[in-house]
């Protein structure tokens, strides 16, 4: 597998930043930091894999957090009513709901031919509204949910006895790894993946080659729906509570992660490793303020500055590369 230049630069940024934090507080450089990052970023890494596929197809989906919430919430409501307690049932149900919502998105995008941003902005509210009307807005707390949720969400694959308490590797790394491998397989090893990249680069050309955009979109939007169901299930198991209003509002951070990772908003370009690094950078920034001794009021300012900086850097690189390839755009002044 070939590592892109932009990915190398992201790695260098991460390494330099980690070193900087470690200089201030050496406790940061530990395996525990990595293990904690695996757990906290697991939901968004799963989601960004789906988003990558959508963005490769030249589309965008901002309803995935809504699908994650609605899928996992409705699955929980059904489980509570029929007294199921297995996490497998939760994930299956949530993924099914996600799939239905994803396919609905795909059909709207294909038929209405409006910008997918607007369509999924609408469906984001539509799905949430349907959930609130049909499934209710009750909160299910730790005492009411089946204990299996917590056992899965807080389960360890590997446990090390530390100086203070235990250091554990969350089992969430298993679904995350499976999703990454599956996404890699779809993009690089199947005709489906090639078709999705093709419509992202030029729908016209892809059509002439015999690809069918409707089916490709159904797949891509259905895929992120299924992943949203999985990510939502993982999230509610990790926090051990089901709220009717969480997750929604955090979608743009995942989109930012994908873009920082070099995924093109106009479609056809994007790398799995880059997207993962993008999410890792965001989580790294969010989880080091305490190490740096910065107070809470710095949080947003800090994350904002680093996001803008990394985005400008990505854009600058893109411009340099285009210059090398003698691609120029006419710019108005």
């Amino acid at each position: 597998m070939q590592i892109e230049r932009s990915e190398v630069i992201l790695l260098i940024i991460i390494a330099l930043y980690a070193l900087g934090v470690a200089v201030v507080n050496p406790a940061f450089l530990s395996i525990e930091t990595v293990f904690d990052l695996v757990r906290t970023s697991s939901r968004d890494i799963i989601l960004v894999m789906g988003l990558l596929l959508i963005m490769l197809s030249g589309g965008i989906d901002i309803s995935f957090m809504s699908m994650a919430l609605v899928g996992s919430y409705c699955a929980t409501v059904i489980m509570m009513r029929y007294e199921f307690s297995s996490v497998a049932v939760l994930i299956t149900l949530a993924c099914c709901f996600g799939l239905i919502m994803g396919l609905f998105n795909a059909l709207l995008v294909s038929w209405l031919k409006l910008p997918p941003f607007i369509i999924t902005l609408g469906t984001m509210n539509l799905f949430h509204g349907l959930m609130a009307t049909l499934a209710g807005t009750r909160t299910y707390g730790a005492g009411i949910l089946p204990p299996s949720f917590n056992e899965f969400g807080s389960g360890y694959l590997l446990e090390i006895e530390g100086e203070y308490g235990v250091i554990g590797l969350s089992v969430s790394i298993i679904p995350v790894a499976l999703v990454i491998v599956l996404t890699w397989f779809i993009i690089y090893k199947t005709m489906l993946g090639r078709g999705i990249v093709a419509i992202g680069n030029s729908e016209e050309a892809a059509l002439r080659l015999g690809f069918r955009p409707l089916w490709l979109r159904l797949f891509a939007y259905g895929y992120i729906g299924v992943l949203a169901g999985l990510a939502g299930s993982l999230y509610i198991c990790q926090v051990n509570a089901v709220y009717p209003d969480k997750m929604i509002g955090e979608e743009l951070m995942v989109v930012a992660g994908a873009v920082i990772g070099g995924t093109s908003i106009s479609g056809g370009k994007g790398k799995i490793f880059g997207a993962i690094l993008g999410i890792v950078i965001i989580y790294l920034l969010k989880s080091t303020l305490i190490f740096l001794g910065l107070s809470a009021s710095w949080n947003n300012l800090f994350v904002g500055i680093i996001l803008v900086l990394s985005l400008s850097f990505t854009a600058y690189q893109e411009k340099m590369r285009n210059q090398r390839h003698l691609l120029f755009k006419v710019e108005s002044r």
């Binding site: 807080s154 203070y164 554990g168």
Partner: protein, 331 residues
């Protein structure tokens, strides 16, 4: 004008009833009094508040009931209020989602002769007939400090969380707690000059806790002014840090497990049923033309001797959850 006639009629009937001296049934004017409570939304908290209003209805024999918006959207509370104004109810109690957004409608209701009593809205106390609060923020905040100090045996590092730095009640609790600890437990050390934000989200509370545990491994206690302290307890459980104590705002529905297994030392709250009862009772007194002043008894646990200050009636009704008593509550 109609209202006056109605009131006079009602008074007349009441008088005649009183003269006749009926004791077995409620006085006729009691049945004519309609007090409506508008809650924020349907959830275990406000379901419990509803039981308080039902108790009030039985105790007084007035017509008291609850109206529940479908969602937390302030416009729905406004719509319900408009409807009640046209029905000419006697009093409206409301727990506003967005207090300031309700001011014009509250004004309209009061112009129509309806008494308006709020709960959890001290900021708009000058626009209503009365605001009823479960306690003074400082008094409640001190409890965090007292219990955390007790749990940590007065020594060690600790950290405090609020939902957000802009949430005034949380900040008032936080400041009172920190001050209380500084005065009573000089050997306890706050690791940060500012509270940490859990952004009212369990996963933020969880990841902040995990980070604090790494950066300050010697920490011995946390308190959280938002109800998301259960995620702090979860993080401590996952890391097997049973030596670290937690005091948090708590609701039985989300925190009961953590209280029972000891990962939350004490949970703090107030009883929604009692708050609802006291608020509606105050409204009832105002409708009857009685004054609500210092020392008035609002007939609910913790509201027997209220303190009136700038249009706000403070009770002292904190509810402290422990492993033993948390099972008795349902909200």
């Amino acid at each position: 004008m109609k209202k006056v006639v109605k009131t006079m009629l009602a008074a007349g009937i009441a008088l005649s009833v009183a003269v006749v001296g009926t004791t077995a049934t409620y006085a006729a004017d009691e049945q004519d009094i309609t007090v409506v409570m508008i809650v924020k939304q349907s959830d275990p908290w406000f379901d419990d508040m509803t039981t308080g209003i039902e108790r009030l209805k039985e105790d007084l024999g007035i017509n008291a009931y609850v109206q529940t918006p479908v969602s937390g959207d302030p416009s729905q509370q406004i719509a319900i209020m408009e409807n009640l104004i046209s029905q000419k109810v006697d009093a409206i109690c409301v727990v506003p989602n967005d207090p300031k957004a309700l001011i014009p409608t509250i004004k309209k209701a009061r112009e129509a002769g309806i008494k308006v009593v709020t709960h959890e809205a001290p900021d708009i106390a000058d626009s209503v007939d009365l605001d009823v609060e479960a306690f003074r923020s400082e008094d409640f905040g001190k409890l965090y400090g007292d219990y955390l100090g007790e749990a940590m045996e007065g020594k060690g590092q600790y950290a405090g969380f609020v939902g957000g730095l802009t949430m005034t009640t949380h900040m008032a609790w936080y400041n009172a707690a920190v001050q209380e600890i500084a005065e009573k437990y000089p050997d306890m050390e706050n690791i940060s000059s500012e509270p940490y934000e859990d952004k009212n989200s369990l996963d933020t509370a969880y990841s902040r806790t995990v980070e604090i545990l790494k950066a300050y491994p010697k920490i011995k206690g946390f308190f959280d002014c938002s109800v998301h302290g259960s995620a702090i307890a979860q993080a401590l459980k996952d890391k097997k840090r049973t030596d670290v104590k937690v005091v948090s705002l708590a609701m039985p529905s989300t925190s009961a497990n953590y209280l029972k297994d000891g990962s939350i030392y004490k949970g703090l709250a107030w009883r929604p049923a009692d708050a609802g009862y006291a608020t509606a009772y105050a409204a009832y007194l105002l409708v009857k033309g009685d004054q609500v002043e210092n020392g008035t008894d609002l007939k609910a646990e913790g509201y027997h001797d209220i303190k009136l200050e700038n249009g706000i009636a403070y009770g002292f009704a904190p509810l402290v959850f422990t492993a033993e008593n948390v099972g008795d509550y349902k909200f």
